[in-house]
């Protein structure tokens, strides 16, 4: 009782109440501003529907089953879609929304990162490739223009299934490490694939655009990932005779090769573990002209292949897991 009396006498409640009132008022104002900011101009026809709980013009949806290593990451499971949505596959589907704005990607034998639970696939290595599918679900009948960005987080081989007491943050490999840079340069993402050739490389982000999107309709989007086995598949011209008799061929379009060569020259530490290769730009240019060119030097070609393979070995030895985060952002907001 002594204690109670003590506080009662010395606490000027009126000040606390005043502070509370002011702060709550400010908080309410912030909330309204946020709401106004993040909720787009609603079209007149949408009426009260525009003020839905999430205030977002779109959601993301995935289909399939849980991934093999899903218990290594923190993200919600998502929820089944509410109501009828056109364009989604039958079977198990989850969407973002009130069940979580970041959800785990569902996978299948068609759509995976070497991590679908029901296949013999157990991770990725040089020579692996695949497709990841997701759906953009329009929540309003409107033009959708989203910025889709891809980010990766790497973990050491010590990462393990997480529980309420442990996450894997202690095993994150820093983004500025050699491992992270090399992985970014060796595991590549593309928007398109035609006859086994990948094109439109995604360096950081790309734009998803659907003019006249219909409310409650899902739009399927694929992204492709590859971890090339040898550098020939990236640099030599598509029809080079050096591919003759080999069990692999050119894997990216010649236009993407030019983009990649520029990137390789500018950020060589993302592609070669040995970052002191003299005349790298010269060698890449030479190889990309192809073996039919009179100046072609097979010494360059062999040297860079060796460096590429050493880098793959470095990644495989030091990196345990790769987490892929896809973020879709309503880029129209910048102009709203």
């Amino acid at each position: 009782m002594d204690n109670y009396e003590h506080i009662k006498i010395h606490t000027p409640k009126i000040i606390i109440y005043t502070v509370c009132a002011v702060v709550i008022l400010i908080a309410l104002l912030i909330s309204f501003i946020s709401f106004g900011w993040f909720t787009n101009n609603k079209t007149a026809g949408d009426g009260i529907n525009g003020m839905n709980a999430t205030g977002c013009k779109f959601e993301l949806a995935t289909a399939g089953t849980s991934g093999k290593y899903d218990n290594y990451i923190i993200a919600s499971d998502g929820q089944a879609p509410e109501g009828e949505i056109d364009g989604l596959p039958t079977g198990n589907v989850t969407v973002t929304g009130s069940g979580g704005t970041e959800i785990k990607w569902l996978l299948s034998s068609e759509s995976n990162f070497g991590n679908n639970a029901d296949a013999a696939a157990d991770g990725i290595q040089p020579g692996s490739y695949g497709k990841l599918t997701f759906y953009v679900v329009a929540k309003q009948s409107t033009d959708l223009k989203l910025t889709i960005s891809l980010d990766t987080v790497l973990y050491t081989k010590d990462a393990q299934p997480i529980d309420e007491n442990n996450d894997n943050s202690a095993y994150i490999i820093p983004a500025n490490s050699s491992e992270a840079k090399l992985t970014k340069g060796h595991i590549l993402f593309f928007k398109n694939k035609t006859n086994g050739v990948y094109s439109d490389m995604i360096t950081d982000s790309f734009t998803f655009e659907k003019l006249g999107a219909k409310k409650d309709t899902a739009y399927k989007t694929d992204i492709y990932w590859i971890w090339p086995e040898v550098i020939d598949q990236l640099i030599l011209p598509e029809s080079d005779s050096l591919f003759g008799g080999k069990d692999y061929s050119k894997i990216i379009s010649d236009a993407d090769t030019q983009t990649l060569i520029t990137e390789m020259s500018a950020d060589s530490e993302c592609y070669f573990a040995d970052n002191s290769i003299a005349d790298l730009g010269l060698m890449l240019d030479n190889i990309s002209k192809g073996s039919a060119d009179g100046s072609f030097d097979s010494g360059y070609y062999n040297k860079l292949n060796l460096k590429w393979n050493e880098s793959d070995q470095f990644i495989g030895t030091n990196v345990g897991y790769i987490e892929l985060k896809l973020t879709a952002d309503d880029s129209s907001l910048g102009n709203a």
Binding site: D2, N3, H6, I7, T11, I15, I16, V19, V23, I24, I26, A27, I30, S31, S34, W37, F38, T39, A53, G55, C56, K57, F58, L60, G67, K68, Y69, D70, I73, T96, T101, E102, I103, K104, W105, F113, N115, D122, G123, Q125, P126, F134, L154, T183, Q313, G316, T317, V319, G320, Y321, I322, E323, L324, K325, L326, T327, A328, D329, D330, L333
Partner: protein, 229 residues
């Protein structure tokens, strides 16, 4: 006296305000998440080491220990054997062994699968490792396979792989014994312990007919390769 009584009222007031601010911040952040127009998908996969098939000497030592120099053809046995191994730290489906050599000296080359034994047997090939420990290997059957470019009559290389070896450099400029012979195991070999890491031992036996060879005459280049198929 209870310790709580020592807390000064000023600190309590401060604590109250901080708690309130924290609550309000939490509310604001929640509101942000609620109204944000950002949605995310998240997945994770395992990174595997590239599957590497390696060639080593006996006792799985470095391949630089496969020393084929100094064959003395006055050796009455008429042959010399070298132990090597093909191994991987990963599971490998199937692989092939290839042998390429020039034909300056009239040697015959045969590769045998081998088993490591605990003790020396009469036909054991001994490999002494870097720590001076002897390892004993015995042949268990010649590898099936064949030369891809041997001229049956002369025993030297025909032109089948000339272009692959020398490119546009014409065969008229290459001494016939310098043109390498290519031998390849066939069918592809399944590792002894399939489905996991393995070490398969082999013995490369080089034989000669003492009437046809002389010491200190010539040099041959021998390449051993193993590749996954």
């Amino acid at each position: 006296m209870n310790k709580k009584l020592d807390i000064k009222p000023g600190i309590l007031r401060l604590t109250n305000v901080i708690v309130l601010l924290a609550l309000i911040l939490t509310a604001a952040v929640t509101a942000f998440a609620w109204f944000t127009n950002e949605r995310k998908l998240d997945t994770i996969t395992k990174i595997n080491s590239p599957v590497a098939l390696k060639i080593g000497a006996g006792a799985k030592e470095d391949s630089s220990n496969i020393d084929m120099g100094g064959i003395d053809i006055s050796d009455q046995s008429g042959k010399k054997s070298f132990v090597f191994c093909v191994y991987s730290d990963e599971s490998v489906g199937k692989y092939k062994i290839q042998l390429a050599h020039t034909t300056n000296i009239a040697f015959t080359y045969t590769i045998y699968a081998a088993n490591e034994g605990e003790t020396a047997l009469p036909d054991s090939v001994v490999y002494v490792d870097e720590s001076d420990v002897s390892h004993y290997y015995t042949k268990s059957g010649a590898l099936s396979g064949g030369y891809l470019n041997m001229d049956e009559n002369t025993g030297i290389a025909n032109g089948t792989y000339h272009e692959k070896t020398y490119g546009a450099y014409g065969s008229e400029f290459v001494q016939k014994n310098a043109e390498p012979l290519y031998w390849q195991s066939s069918p592809a070999i399944t590792p002894v312990s399939a489905g996991k890491n393995f070490t398969d031992y082999y013995i490369l036996e080089i034989r000669w007919d003492s009437d046809k060879v002389t010491n200190n005459k010539e040099t041959d280049m021998v390449y051993l390769t193993a590749g996954m198929v």
